[in-house]
Structures are given as structure tokens and as C-alpha cells.
Amino acid sequence: MSGSTGLPATADLELDCRGEPCPLPVIRLGRRYTEFAPGAVLAVVADDVAARYDVPAWCRMRGQEYLGEDVAEDGVARYWVRRTL
């Protein structure tokens, strides 16, 4: 954990969804997370405003853990997810 934000220091996969409209970021998250074992951490970098609500909602529907949000180096929002199932 990277202390201040409570978010992991690194992700097993960071999806670059910059410039992609909704629902593409969630579609890509849904396709890729199955490649990883439970416990893996995925980050979705997206400037689409709906991702802020839809990544947590996807986690709830899929029974995965939503860890929170920070920003990538260029200031674009990044959403963190842990595969639990």
C-alpha cells in the first residue's frame, strides 16, 4: 500500500482508456480481468466522466472489490480494482 492514498503502489495491469467514451472503459475492464488470478490489481485510466460511477458499479455487479480513485501522472483519473473472485 502506498500510505497516503491507501491504494496499491502498482497494478498488475493498467488499462489506458484515455479518450474512450462510455461504456468502453468498463467493457475493456470486463474483458481483461479474467486473465488474472484472484488478488490481482487492475487500474483503469479514463477521462470519460461515467467511469467514475460505472467502475464501482461494475465491481458491485461482478462481486469484485473497488479500491478507490487517484490520478495518473498526466492528471487523468485512475480507478483501482482488486479481483476477488
Binding site: C22, D48, V49, A50, Y53, D54, P56, A57
Partner: protein
């Protein structure tokens, strides 16, 4: 030949598409049409004047107030006709707030209020330096009365909580909120509710909109409890009712009253049928893989259902359903003029993409709903392919 100046609408086809967007606006009730046509010839004069035609118009206006008051269990003086539901929201909410400006200029609203409420509070804050806070809701979009009480500040002038949510249909615990906030006046936006469910008790001011229950557009209701402290937030006008402004649309007000009375008479039967049909749609939608039906399943408006389809684009869904003859609304960002997702769906933690809101008119029949129930799984499957 129809000339380009002809303002009459063209003919309506015999098998027109099925509008399932009644919560946006519903057609004029036959009782309202009849009343409107009769009143157009008798209610055009200035109801403030003393001559014969004016007295006729005044009688019709008073009659309209009387009928609305009786339907809602109020007194005639509690009812003001406004130029729209939005205008009624603005006057009700901002008028309560202004009357309490000595207490403060802070307002509270649930996070799922209609944008008319939120815009009014933003406008007021920008105008006189006040502020407002939003109270979070649960996953059904219901506000917790205790959370509202805890969010009160000594400077809170007014609290706004809707009667029913306009996007997901959830009924709010209005009476419990009123009890929880004690002496602070409660404004209730009842635009989505009036004509469909009982007006809940506990408000100091409330607003409703006639074109949502089968009256004409351009008629709103501002309701004020007797003894409520209220000041007009807008310039005064010397009309019949000092709470409103602009020349009264007497025929439309009377038609709105006639529609409200008619839907009141029919309501038990219509609401029971709508509840059954909506339960059917909820069941079909919930049975499709990765479709999230949102809003309270029981404590809700009878005629409305909202669901979100994972991985689908709301605009594509609306377009595909329209192609099959079904007109529906969506709270997804791609369908909004602002390109922002619905703040209601966001506040309740629902999926904002792939969203559909379906709402039934008083005469939407089982056949239409069954046709929608057959089309929906096909449309979702096609778009996901």
C-alpha cells in the same frame, strides 16, 4: 396541400410507435380536452376585471383552484397556478428560502432531486451568497430522514425532498423527513408523483406539473400550507394570485383541474394495472444477463421502471428500441445534452451506461408491454454481439 405556414400538425398514422416515456410527458386526458375546448371560448378575458366576460374567466379560474384543492385534500387558497412545474419548483423552494433569510441562506436537498431544484439552489447561492449541501441516498435512491436531520445547520433555511424520484420511481419518506427536521420548512417537488400516487403530508410548500398527469403543458401547481412563511423570490405582478406572475391561462388551468379529477377517479384501476405491467417488465429485464433493475421494487411509482444494461451504450439502446417502435428515455451520459451521466443513477451507485427508463401512459395496454418484453432481450443480445 399543406403550406409551410400551416401550423396544424400532420395526420397521425394508424399504427404509430408506442411511446413509453409518459414520465417525460403524457397526452391530454380526454376529460381535459373537452374542458379545454369549452373553456377556450369562455375563459379568455382578464379575470381581474369587473365586467361580464372577466367575471366568467374569474369563475372558471376559481373553479379550477377549487377542483385541484379538493383532489389534493387542500383548501382553495393553498393552490396557485404557475406557468410550469419548473416555475412552481422555483417559487416554492426559493420562496420558503427567502422567507427564512434571517435564519440563514443554507439549503439542504437530497442528492437525487430533479435538476430544477438543484439549478434553483445554485442560482440562489450565486445571487445572494448562500450555499447548499446534498444528502446522500441509498442504493434505491431513498434518502434517510436521520441523515437529513444530521445535515441540518443552524443556518438551514429550507430542505428539499421530492415525493417520488422522476428517474427511478422510488418514493421518498417525505413525512418522516418533515418530522425529522422539526421547524425547518420542507419543500416537496411532487412533479413526478401527483396524478399517480397520493401527495404525501409534511410539506410547507410543494410543486406539481399538469402535463405529467394528462393536463396541458404550461400549467404547474404551487401548493402552500396555511400559515407558511413564504415570500416571492421574483418581481411582483398584480394578478389574481400574488404568488404567481403573468396573465393567467384560465382554459389550461381548468383543463389541468379536469384531468386531475379524471385521473383521480380512475387511479385505483389504472395504478393496479400499471403496477402489474411494470412488474412484468422488471421481471423480464432482471432475467437478462447483466441487467441491473434499479429503484425500489415495491415503494415506487406504479408506472415507471429503470434498468441498466452492462457494456451497452444508452444511445444505441434508445435508437434500437425506437427502430422497433418503442420510445423510451435514458439517463446515460451519451443521451444527455450535458454529456454527463444522470446524477440520480450516480448518487445511488447504479450503472450509468446502458440505461433505459420506461414509463406507461394511463392507456398503455398489455399488448404493447408484452411486445416490449419480447423485443428487449433481442435488442440487448443484438447490441452485445
Amino acid at each position: 396541400m399543406r403550406s409551410s405556414q400551416d401550423v396544424r400538425p400532420g395526420p397521425i398514422g394508424p399504427t404509430g410507435p408506442s411511446d413509453l416515456d409518459a414520465a417525460a410527458s403524457t397526452a391530454l386526458h380526454p376529460a381535459a380536452r373537452e374542458t379545454l375546448l369549452a373553456a377556450l371560448d369562455h375563459g379568455w378575458a382578464d379575470p381581474r376585471r369587473l365586467h361580464k366576460q372577466a367575471r366568467d374567466a374569474r369563475l372558471l379560474l376559481d373553479n379550477a383552484r377549487e377542483v385541484v384543492a379538493a383532489e389534493l385534500g387542500l383548501r382553495r387558497d393553498d393552490v396557485t397556478f404557475t406557468s410550469s412545474g419548473t416555475d412552481a419548483v422555483h417559487r416554492g423552494l426559493l420562496g420558503l428560502r427567502l422567507a427564512r433569510s434571517r435564519v440563514g441562506r443554507h439549503a439542504l436537498a437530497s442528492a437525487v432531486e430533479h435538476s430544477a431544484v438543484l439549478h434553483a439552489l445554485e442560482w440562489a447561492a450565486a445571487t445572494d451568497g448562500g450555499s447548499h449541501d446534498l444528502v446522500a441516498v441509498d442504493r434505491h435512491a431513498r434518502v434517510d430522514p436521520d441523515a437529513v436531520r444530521e445535515a441540518l445547520s443552524p443556518t438551514t433555511a429550507v430542505v428539499a425532498v421530492q415525493a417520488a424520484n422522476h428517474e427511478v420511481g422510488t418514493l421518498q419518506p417525505v413525512t418522516a423527513v418533515a418530522e425529522a427536521i422539526g421547524d425547518v420548512p420542507l419543500f416537496v417537488d411532487a412533479c413526478a408523483a401527483v396524478g399517480h400516487v397520493d401527495l404525501p403530508a409534511g410539506w410547507a410548500a410543494a410543486a406539481a406539473s399538469a402535463h405529467k398527469w394528462g393536463g396541458p403543458a404550461g400549467v404547474g401547481l404551487l401548493l402552500l400550507r396555511p400559515g407558511t412563511r413564504w415570500r416571492s423570490p421574483f418581481p411582483a405582478d398584480d394578478r389574481v394570485d400574488p404568488r404567481s406572475s403573468g396573465f393567467e391561462n384560465v382554459p389550461a388551468a381548468l383543463a389541468a383541474a379536469a384531468a386531475l379529477r379524471a385521473v383521480g377517479t380512475e387511479r385505483a384501476e389504472v395504478a393496479a394495472r400499471q403496477r402489474r405491467l411494470i412488474d412484468r417488465v422488471r421481471g423480464v429485464a432482471a432475467g437478462i444477463e447483466d441487467v441491473d433493475v434499479v429503484g425500489d421494487p415495491d415503494e415506487r411509482l406504479p408506472h415507471l421502471v429503470t434498468f441498466s444494461c452492462l457494456y451497452l451504450d444508452g444511445e444505441a439502446l434508445v435508437t434500437a428500441l425506437d427502430r422497433r417502435g418503442f420510445g423510451v428515455a435514458s439517463g446515460s451520459a451519451c443521451t444527455a445534452s450535458t454529456l454527463e451521466p444522470s446524477h440520480v443513477l450516480a448518487a445511488m451507485g447504479a450503472l450509468t451506461h446502458g440505461n433505459v427508463r420506461l414509463s406507461l401512459h394511463r392507456d398503455t395496454d398489455e399488448e404493447t408491454v408484452e411486445a416490449f418484453c419480447r423485443a428487449l432481450p433481442e435488442v440487448v443480445a443484438e447490441l452485445r454481439r
